[in-house]
């Protein structure tokens, strides 16, 4: 049942992405509307999957790379749904659906078995630390998506009136992402002090979280202080996305450290 829900979500997101693409090529609103409905069905399937997996595991499903990837993808979908219904922002939808599906597809490539929560992860900080990280990454990804959209629109028509709004949302998404990443790092530090005796160990995951934080802080600093906006900020948001992805995927797969929960069980307890 869990697998059915998981792959239903993945398939629906893919179908939505294709329809969205054709809807834009053919300039058919009905196809785009259908695409959105299919996306919402995929979102419902993914939400149900997360809930059911959580019930089966007896915990919030965020304990390994697979579960985090599912939550990360879901975070992008949640923010997209909020932007769609509350703020009626449609310019971000296509790229955001691709990102939601892309991260979910990455999750599909990872082992899906439910493991017992290891002792190091049994903490009151578990949900807030990992949850805020997932939503922070999601906000950065959507900022990148907005950046791509900005550049595409700007390429066609630099005077397009949507550009100002997109530019503002790039700023807002990065600001919210940075705030959430700050919370992630702070809670992580408090947790690390309880678990490992030191709030900071220069572990690769910590270092790359710090790099991500500084990178976006510089971006906001340039925007607020030196009024670097528009095309510059759009490019900045796009170029920063690989750093976020490296912090999420690259560090866990290429570097070993205290956050490598799949491998170093005994070291971590």
């Amino acid at each position: 049942m869990l697998d059915i829900l998981f792959f239903a979500g993945l398939g629906l997101y893919f179908a939505s992405m294709l329809l969205r693409f054709f809807g834009q090529v053919w300039q058919k609103d009905t196809v785009s509307t259908l695409s959105w409905r299919i996306f919402m069905a995929g979102f419902a399937a993914q939400t149900a999957y997360i809930i059911m997996r959580g019930l089966e595991a007896g915990r919030i499903p965020m304990a390994n790379q697979f579960e985090f990837a599912v939550m990360f993808s879901w975070g992008i979908a949640v923010i997209l749904v909020v932007l769609h219904y509350r703020l009626n922002l449609n310019w971000i939808t296509t790229i955001a659906i691709i990102m939601t599906w892309g991260i979910y597809l990455y999750a599909a490539l990872l082992p899906r078995q439910i493991n017992e929560l290891m002792p190091a992860l049994r903490s009151v900080w578990f949900v807030s630390h990992i949850g805020s990280a997932a939503f922070s990454y999601a906000a950065f990804m959507l900022a990148g998506a907005s950046g791509i959209r900005y550049l595409l629109i700007h390429g066609k028509n630099p005077a397009d009136e949507r550009l100002e709004e997109i530019d503002y949302f790039i700023y807002r998404l990065i600001a919210i992402g940075l705030l959430l990443l700050t919370v992630t790092i702070v809670i992580g530090a408090i947790w690390a002090e309880e678990a490992w005796s030191s709030f900071w160990t220069w572990d690769p995951k910590e270092v790359w979280a710090l790099i991500t934080w500084i990178l976006y802080a510089i971006g906001l600093h340039l925007r607020l202080g030196q009024k670097k906006k528009g095309v510059f900020m759009a490019w900045y948001a796009v170029i920063a996305v690989p750093v976020v992805l490296f912090t999420f995927i690259g560090v866990n797969t290429l570097m070993s450290g205290l956050h490598s929960y799949g491998a170093a069980v005994k070291m971590l307890l």
Partner: protein
Amino acid sequence: MTFGVILLGLVIAVSVIGSVIPQQREAMYYVRQYPSTYQLILQLGLDRVFTSWYFIVIIILLCLNLILCSLLRWRFLQKADPAGAVLGRASDVKLPLAKRQAVETYLEKILRCRKVDAGKKKIYLKYQFGRYGTFITHLGILLTVIFFAAGMALPKLHDTSCYPGESIILDDGTEIMIESFSIEDDTGRLDYRSVINVTMPDGRSTGPSDLSVNHPVSIGSLKVYQQTYGTVGQISVTDNAGHKDSFFVESNDFLSADGKNGILIDNLYPGLEETEEGTKLIMSTSGRYKNPVYLFMVMQEGTQEAMLAFPGDEIEVGGYTYRFEAPVEYPGLRIKKAPAYANICLLISVMILTAGLFITFLLSPVTVLIDEEGYLLPGGRPEGVRLKLKAIADGKGETHA
């Protein structure tokens, strides 16, 4: 500002190097792993970049930059009077009366600004303390860096292990008694848990306290962490007169009364495995040893013979009976001594930083002047309000900006 951005860029560059090259290893590690570049790595201190002189210099410069930046911002904030500053100015967006009223309705009813009447002009104000957002953020970063450095430098760490029923005595006379330790709970789930009793030199004591991962035991400036664990063999020895003694045994321990006859422990293994090629010893496992087996040598009359034994087995050598007992798990502890104020100061610093970011991004100050011709939003900030007012002015009031 540019200098600060350059410094942050340098912090990123050093951090990338520090994450790519494993840190704090022995020199030989780099010689083996990086045969062509190890000299460069060692000479430039790339094996420990986060404690290198150049990283410390960058951080000090960053602190100085933050101090200067904070002072400049503080001076600017002390001089600034947002309401007074806009009062002498005129609107720069001209609107007809209906739209001006729509703008005012938005500012008053939706944004819930405070209205100040000044003759024919009105000033709408909200979140004025938000002006302090960037100052608080910079101050928070500065304090975080300072107390972070203190928090990294001050603690004294000591890793040790101790068998259940025994005590660790620290240099200052503090005693840590390990009353019990287990690696699995009643359901068989991994759960590394000790019961310890810490007694300080002045007599203060924690009493028997549960120690587990994520739940250190604290007393005064001392904190004890559940860090790792090990499994040790146990052998009871009985002589002909019936006197019995018990020993924890590790690899290469030699139990003998005369130094010649006895048993030499080779190793304790988690279990045996039947394979097509025969019986093999399991070399490592996670959790409790399911079927522990001792590999040992019997040394007797100048001969030696390798043997296996399971818990409960007995063997007589040189007039002594050696009984192999079930292995015992023991905790590896980390003992940390650090003044509590360092962590408290750091915590306050990061809270200031987080609050600063929150205020900067989510509580930006709003100052809007309305006169008889239109409105003025100085500097076009906050951008959200600017876009909203623009939407109202353009007759697209429903736009959510």
